[in-house]
Every structure is written in C-alpha cells, then in structure tokens.
Subunit: 436 residues, 2 copies
C-alpha cells in the first residue's frame, strides 16, 4: 500500500466521511477564480481546492522529480504529466504531508491557508489538460453484446475480432468539454426506416454513454510501442466521461468507416483526474479473458477496478435526478492497460494529456446497462421516470449526470460528477441549413 493511502490519514480540514475527496484522493484539476481569470492547477480536498500555482509560487512545491515546481504554474497539466510517475508520486506525497492534521506547517499558517485553500463553490473548473488526441474504446463485452444483438441478432452479436483485441476508434479532441458545459442537440442526416433517402434535421435519438476516461501521462515516441508493464506506469489518472451519441446519425453514417458526426458534437468529462495511486485499493482481477490474449496483450497483474459507476437523469419537470444506470468499472473485458498497449503497438505515439475512453461500461444485469440504447432496447421499452414521464432517448432540457467512486477501508475515493444538459437544436441554424 502506498503510504498516502493509509486509512488513518486525516486532514486538518473538516471533510465529511462520505466525501469523494478525502486526503487519500488528492485529484488534480484546473480551475480559475473567475471565468476570465488565469487558469491554475489545483488539487481537490474535501470542499476546497488547493491552489498549486500559488503554493509553488511561494516555493512550497519542489523536489527531486518536480524540480522547482514550475510545472504547476501552467494553465494545463500536460507538463506535469510528462514528468512521469516518480514526479506524480513525489507531488502527491508533498501535498499529502501539507494537508495532514498532524503537520502544523500549513495548518497553522492562516495567511497561507487563505491564499492557497479556496472554497470549491468560489472557483470555476476547466479542462485539466490540452488534449492532443482522443480515442474511444469499446471494452465492455456486455455492451458490445447488447448492441450487437440488437443490430445483428444474438448469434452474431460479437464480431470475430472482439475477443482478440480491444476494438477502438479515433475520436474528436476539439469537442471534449468539461462537466457543466451544456450542448445543443446536433443537426444531421438521418434516414427513416421506410425512406429511400435521408433527411436533415435535429437528432431524434440522442443518448449518453457512461464511460471512464483515461489520461495518458508519459506516452511514447512514434515508432516505439510500449509493453503492458510500461503502459501501467504511463497512465496519469482517470475521469468520468459521457460520450454523448446521436444514434440515428450514427446508424446512417457509420458504415464502413465508423462513427464520425454521431460523436463529435461533444464528449463531457469530470474535472478532477484521480491518480492511479489513489485508485490502487480498488485494483481487482478484470473479467476472465477467453481465449487467452496474444502475448503483447497478456498481463499477469490485476487490471480491473472495483469502482461503482452510475448515471442519473433529471428532466425539466423533476426536482432531483433519478438513477437509471448502476454499474461497475470491473465489468470491462479489456483493461485500460491492454487498451493503451494495443493503441501503441503499431508505433502510434501517445502524448502527455492524450485521452481515451473505455467505451460504455455496461455490466451483466439490466440495471447496469450504461446507455439508453441498451436500457430501452432501441426505444422498444421506454424508461418510466418518477415524474410520470418516460424516455426512449434524451429530450431537450434533460440533464444527465454520471457519478463514480470506490469504497476503501475507511474512506471513499470519488470522481465527483460529470453533468451536461441538452439544449435545443439552434433553430435559426436549422433554418439556415435547410433553406440556404
């Protein structure tokens, strides 16, 4: 166990026992004091943000691997990510020490505390990194089987390659947004079941996909694949992800080159990147893999994560969100280490701050289905909501929330949440595009 994961560790800050952000978590993110202000690197602790920009400016963040802490006075985490695992651990240890209840240094320095500890309610969160490339995998066999069954029947549900490699595709980095960014319903081409030709208009089958996002730390050079053990040291941390999906656009466009516009209008992530060290207590064996993976994908260490994940919806008529998915990251067939190793095996270079999604984390039970396509079985079984409404897919004004956490012995490690609301398609645009 890493010493910073000691369940007896306590912070001098008051933190509720079910907080996502005890001293054992210490996730990294980027915030600003006002919308226009400088973007600053911070660490979340309870209901506070520890301002690493200010802390390193005061000379409190330095060490063998993080140097003089300059990397914390940047608007994004990429340079810190590039320093590698020893630097990440060093920073974590220094920050953990500073926040301990038995360390007077910051605890009893009122002026410093006021400078570097900001109430979370007073700050605005931003994307934690400049995301060079974004990739999306398809790593839950339950999800792939459900989707395959709907489209090709149960006998041909999984494609022949599925059990041999982590299927993935390149996504759009420019439209990855931080939690709280609302998105307009996309316009696009769709074709009605009985139509000869497509029509243009607002997406009618708008869906969420509950995923986990993985931030690459150190990466690799072009032409130099990484072994799975190197992949293990290369991951900086995890976030929650909502891979919004326009199912009707997807169905029409995706053959033969894969999803394109059906995904690129927005992908939402939670703002705090939880480190792999904080997540160590939740490492478990992943799903059994049969057939045995090819040697380059074989891993002798556990690669699953016992992390509870849930999705909630709140329509405009509902006073509070209603949970529609309860699943767990351990249901992924391919581990994040296998995903990363596979991604780089051709020599494709991954860079600090690159992001990949695991794919929809559906589990074996009905309640663990992690998108509406599966939950409502393509709209055939609408979901009843406590407001008396029902949903096949998301309507304008619907808010979708994803949460996730692990329960360790004595504390939780959580991600907070990723929230987004569907705004109506912009009608003026819709008109301009229909009648140019």
């Amino acid at each position: 166990m890493h010493p910073t994961n000691d369940p007896s560790l306590r912070s001098f800050l008051e933190i509720s026992s079910n907080s996502d952000f005890p001293i054992q978590n210490l996730p990294f993110g980027v915030f600003s004091k006002t919308a226009e202000d400088l973007h600053r690197i911070g660490v979340r602790i309870g209901d506070y943000v520890l301002d690493l920009h200010a802390l390193s400016g005061e000379g409190w963040l330095s060490g063998e691997h993080i140097g003089n802490g300059d990397v914390f006075r940047r608007p994004v985490l990429n340079d810190f990510m590039a320093l590698g695992k020893q630097a990440w651990e060093e920073a974590r240890t220094i920050i953990s020490e500073l926040l301990r209840e038995d360390n007077a240094k910051l605890r009893d320095d009122k002026a410093m505390r006021e400078e570097v500890l900001l109430p979370i309610a007073d700050v605005q969160m931003h994307l934690p990194a400049s995301i060079g490339d974004y990739t999306d995998f398809y790593a839950s066999k339950y999800h792939a089987t459900n989707v395959g069954t709907m489209f090709r029947g149960p006998d041909n549900a999984l494609q022949p390659n599925y059990l041999h490699l982590p299927v993935g595709y390149h996504g759009r980095a420019s439209s990855v947004v931080v939690s709280g960014t609302d998105l307009h319903r996309p316009m696009g081409q769709t074709i009605a079941p009985d139509a000869d030709s497509p029509a243009f208009g607002p997406c009618k089958l708008l869906d969420y996909e509950l995923e986990v996002g993985v931030f690459v730390g150190t990466g690799n050079e072009l032409g130099s694949p990484m072994t799975i053990s190197r992949a293990r040291d290369s991951i900086f941390g995890l976030v929650l992800m909502n891979d919004w999906s326009a199912r009707d656009i997807q169905k029409w466009e995706y053959v033969p080159l894969g999803p394109f516009l059906s995904k690129n209008f927005g992908t939402s992530i939670s703002p705090w990147i939880v480190s792999m060290t904080a997540l160590e207590p939740f490492l478990v064996d992943g799903e059994a893999q049969d057939p045995e993976p090819l040697p380059y994908l074989k891993d002798n260490q556990p690669g699953g994560f016992n992390l509870h994940l849930e999705a909630l919806v709140q329509t405009e008529r509902m006073a509070s969100p209603y949970r529609i998915t309860q699943t767990n990251m351990k249901y992924l067939y391919w581990t994040i280490y296998q995903q990363l190793t596979h991604h780089a095996v051709t020599g494709c270079n991954l860079r600090p701050g690159d992001l990949f999604g695991t794919g929809t984390v559906s589990g074996p039970s009905k309640e663990s289905r992690a998108c509406l396509l599966e939950l409502t079985w393509r709209g055939q079984e609408p979901l009843d909501l406590p407001s008396g409404e029902s949903r096949k897919f998301l309507l304008d004004g619907d808010r979708l929330i994803i949460k996730g956490w692990g329960q360790a012995n004595g504390y939780n490690i959580g991600f907070g949440e990723v929230i987004g609301t569907i705004l109506p398609a912009v009608e003026s645009q819709a008109k301009a595009f229909q009648h140019p």
Copy 2:
C-alpha cells in the same frame, strides 16, 4: 483573378519555368536552419525560402490585418491561420510585392536579401502547424467503388450513404509527420484467410494512399456549424498527403468502428501549404452529383480542382523513382468545401491548424488508381517495375513519393512532394512483444 495570380508577374530571383514555386505560388511552411535551431515561418519561392520570422523582425511585414507581423515569429502557422482570409491575402500581397522584379526594395538590399532568402538546400522542413485534430474522408467515388467491389462485389460496392454524405472518420493527429520522415513497418494483429485466430507480427500488406490534405484556417465555435460559403473562406490551403495503410491490420480490426491501428502509425504530408488564392486558377466543376445533395451540402460555385497528382515508387534496386499512379484532384466526388461543411454540421468545432484528408484520389482509369490495393487488385495483379521487380504491396526499403501541380496560363503551381521510406519492423521490439 487575384492580382497576385497575374501570369506576367515575375520575381527578381531566377526561377525555372517549370518550378512548382513561382511568384504566383508563395506557399507557407515552417523550417529551421539546423535540426536543433528555432522553427521559423517561411514562404517558398523558387529554390529559396523567404524567412518571414526575420522579415517581420525587421519590421517589413505589417498591415491592417496582420498587425505588426508578430504571428510570423511563432514556431507554427496556427496564429496566422486564425487571423482569417483577409490577413492571408494581405500577407500574400505584401510578400508578392517584395519579390517582384520591378520592386527595388528587397532586390537591391543585398544585406537584407542575404538575411531573409535562404537556399532551400540549407534548411530543414517541419510540420507547418500544430495539428489539433486530423480527419480523413473517403471522397473519391472511384476509390470507394473499387474497394467496395473487391470486398462486397460490384452490385453492393457503394454503401447506401455514400452518395448522400461525405463519409469520413477521425484519424490520429499525433502521428502526422512531415515529408522525409521514414516510418517503421508497423506490427499488429492480422488473421490468415484460413486461420481460426489472429497472429501478431509485422504488417504484410503495407500500402500508400495518395490524398490531398486540407488545412483549416479559421474554423468555428463548438455548437456553431458553418454554411458552405463560410467553409469556402475557412480553408487556409492544401498539401499532399500519404495516408499509409496497413491493409491486413485494417481488415481484421475495422468492423464495426472503423480503421484504427491500420492508419495511426503515420500519415505524411508535404511541407508547403499552398494557399487557396494560388489555387484559384484551377477551380473547376467537380464530379456531377446525383442525387442532388441535401441543401446544407449544396454549392453553386465550382468546388473541384484541376490538379495533376502522381505517385512514384523507388525500391532499393532502382536508380530513380517510377510513376505508378497518375490522377487528378478533380475526380473527387465530394468537394473539400462539402467535406468541411459536413464535418461541422453537428456543431463540431474545427480549429486553426486542424487537418483533413480527402481520401484516396483515385480516378476512372486504371492508371489513376491511387493506392496499391486498387492498382494490384488486392495483390492479384502485381505491379511490374522497370528494375525487373514486382510489387503487390510495399516492401522494406521502398520509397514512396507523391507529387502534384496545376498548369496555369504561363506558370505552374506545385506542392513539391511528400516522400517516405519504409523501414523494417524493429525486430527487437517484435521479439519483446512476441515473448514478453
């Protein structure tokens, strides 16, 4: 006609009549004086590079739209691209004026000429922009028909969506490299026709794809699609592109989410971005579109480009390259303006420096097939080379060269070339991955 395209314009520099880079071209790129030196923005003229970094440092580049020319003292073109079409035209006009034979300002200033005009042989070229996202289209109907015929037979060659939208998919930005970067043959999973399970090893069916690359200039905000006329003003310029493809990896991996590792080991582009103003003389009607595109994709202006494109191969035993493809950009079914408009129609944001490829620019004739998959019909009809060798796909040591130009009245506008050589798969890596 734009005044800088006047066929009677001449530079005081001696430029051969068949040069790709007369004063009517003036493409932008990024170079350095040595491999380690500062990356500088430059313009190609004949066999020289005009150093815009130095020129703007001396105060010779300023204007209403380009301001004091600060954007030319950056290591990439992105900030200049972001300024928009008026700034691009202003810079072009200023540079054209400076290089005219009837303008003494630079012509007779020997010290300045020696500072800002560098022989092309003395510089090293780099990627012209920081590429945020890279997308690849599939816009030649001839290519899609050939590939579809090989895999599904002539009756089902084109998918139902093909004539209604420009099919595309997101690619990998990190592995876009500049001409002259050699690439190792990728390792990956492939499956033999009669095998039950895949094997891991070097790609056996390595191919090139002759494409045109399109650099986005101004782009759009997330949630704000662009009309086709705005798309027309948003494109900064074109390059040549080789979308290297591992056909055996592609075949096994690509269902259902599209090409992934089969493309992300490298995509090569030519270093000089030729502006849309320089390419104006080559605008022609594109291929006839039937059925008529949906209104948002309809364009009343010509969107094709009469640009000759060719691919050449040079094996280790050949003294000079041998031409294997002769095609023309006008054969694309979907124009670059339709591609860009479609890309943004969901509200997907494109940023200055984003790149998209047109897809393989195959034409109607056999000699215009623009990849080996088509030329050798999946290896069934090997290509005979003048060295007595033959090729189904690329072997180690093979060099692939793509060239392209347009012939205007009195001058050529060319792209130069994009070159890359296939290096062997790294055997030590291959072993490490097979026997971990």
